[in-house]
Amino acid sequence: MASIPLVDTVTGPSTSELWRTRRDKERYQWSSFGLLTPTFGLLILLFLVPMGFAVWLGFTNLTLVGPLAIHSSFVPWQQLTRLRTDTSFWSSLWVTGIFIAGSIVGVVIMGYTLASLLMRAVPWMRMIVGGIVVVAWMMPAVTAGITWYASTTGGGAFATLLGTPNSNFLDNDPLLVVTIASVWSMTGFAMLVMGAALRNIPSEAIEAATVENASTWQRFRMIVLPLLRPTMTAIVLLTGLLALANFSLIYIMTQGGPGNATNILPLYSYQQAFSFNNLAYGALIGNIMVVIATVFGVFYVRITARRL
């Protein structure tokens, strides 16, 4: 058997493997291209074209209304200088960083904690708590925003629960509150994915370590964490990407305020483009988001493609 290459002796050759070993010329079926056309046509038209257009748009001085809405010109240096000297932009970038980092840390910790507790919980507890967390994740961002606004404003649920009915958490710590809301709305996904990954860890590995007198912390650090790493990396990157684009939640809760306290990049970009009418400048800020998203996206592709 060993003399026949390319044939898996356990499962036998699959059709695609046989095709791969064909010695004649590769042939493409024309219908394959027909099948791909709608998807890639749409992606080119409404993803690649707008992205390319945004690069150009960001370097012009186009406005939403007024004379520059009709006669705009290409002024890259002016736009870049404006970005460099705009303190609101830098503060927005900083706020975005904190919001993303906070969301990632919160989601990973809460997701793991819940997933590992659920595994050992009594069944009815598992159903109720698991259900609540998943419902929080399923809730559309607009609804999550409303219900979080209601619960953290003066006289809301948290103020009542903590016995201080007049404290307005949303006004006192806006960035902290919206970050917690963001964690709340994304934990369910992390919990489900990590729960599946935890169930895939062979119990023999844990038992062997227990026999060797490994402490709980050692078992976590030496066995669970390394085996969970690919899953965790995927969750970190996806949470980062979703938090970066989480316009709706914050827009409903604070509209970026008070002041600029929760003005993350998508909100600032929207504000520049549609409230201050600087359409081109809004697009330029949007391009910064595209750059950040691309960095996350490239790492995401690298870990996902390994599983293809």
Partner: protein
């Protein structure tokens, strides 16, 4: 043909054994493990309460006729629901349905063709194309809304139908990725049998691949629907006419009214959530079914 499609798609034979949790070796619960388990359940319950707390307002205020932002025992009444299911608010929900159905249809039809082609066919630059699909499935395409706004406004497209097309593109890459994985799991034997009978590509897709990969296609379509249904910033920017605005914009408009109608906001938001909850529940069932697709071929 009918015999072929009838061959128990997704009827699990081994799920009961495969899904059963791996039980730890039977050992007598000692006092220590009992305390430990009680503590674990208590912590979990505490976390559950923390996750539930922000939701309470939504449920209580929706059935309270004098609701406020606070959480209080409701003066029970269904008047809020009766208020919000009329007139322009009902119309906004209808707009959401139109937006989501059109966008889901476009993404699912285009997606299933591409997924099949990427799964089965020999295609030049297949690797890079797949990487591009994965990349755009991770990156939220809604961040391109400003350039899309500029393009749409230039061609007078700031209305509900073009917006539905853009929303379909934002969910398309992930749908393709999901459906490709499901189609990969469908055995090729049935397709080859159909080819022997001189079935065309379209017939193979319609009669063999789509029925067999249906759980995956449905799961992808549900993802697309929920994505379009919950979208807020895209319709906010891209839909001009007031009477074409979907429900999320109506919820936001509620908040900007000078006199807040708390009960109505809660009731409307809850109604808006219900389709999402139902669809996600169906979707998780489909995922469980999807993994036993091998049942399509008797062997």
């Amino acid at each position: 043909m009918s015999e072929m499609t009838d061959t128990n798609v997704g009827v699990p034979e081994s799920t009961t054994t495969a899904d059963a949790p791996v039980l730890p070796p039977e050992n007598r619960p000692t006092q220590r493990t009992k305390v430990r388990s009680a503590t674990l359940n208590l912590i979990l319950g505490g976390l559950g309460v923390l996750f539930l707390a922000p939701m309470l307002w939504l449920f209580l205020a929706s059935i309270d006729k004098n609701a406020s932002w606070g959480v209080e025992w409701p003066h029970f009444s269904l008047i809020n629901f009766r208020h919000v299911l009329t007139g322009s608010l009902l119309h906004s929900l209808w707009n959401s349905v139109i937006l989501a159905v059109i966008s889901t249809t476009i993404a699912s039809v285009a997606g299933v063709f591409a997924a099949y082609s990427l799964s089965r066919r020999r295609i030049p630059f297949k690797g890079p194309l797949l990487l591009f699909i994965i990349f755009s499935s991770g990156v939220p395409l809604a961040i391109l809304v400003i350039p899309v706004y500029e393009i749409f406004s230039k061609y007078g497209l700031l209305s509900i139908l073009p917006t539905a097309v853009f929303l379909s593109v934002t969910s398309l890459p992930f749908e393709v990725y999901l459906m490709k994985n499901f189609i990969d799991a469908v055995p090729t034997d049935l397709e080859e049998a159909a080819r022997m009978e001189r079935a065309s590509t379209f017939q193979v897709l319609r009669r063999v691949v789509i029925p067999l990969a249906l759980p995956g296609i449905a799961a992808a379509a549900i993802f697309g629907f929920v994505n379009a249904w919950g979208s807020f910033v895209v319709p906010l920017i891209l839909i001009g006419p007031q009477n074409q605005q979907p429900a999320p914009i109506a919820i936001y408009t509620f908040l900007t009214l000078p006199k807040a109608q708390f009960g109505n906001i809660a009731a409307y938001s809850l109604v808006f959530c219900i389709p999402v909850f139902i669809l996600y529940t169906i979707s998780s069932r489909l995922f469980r079914e999807g993994f036993v697709l091998g049942g399509g071929v008797k062997g």
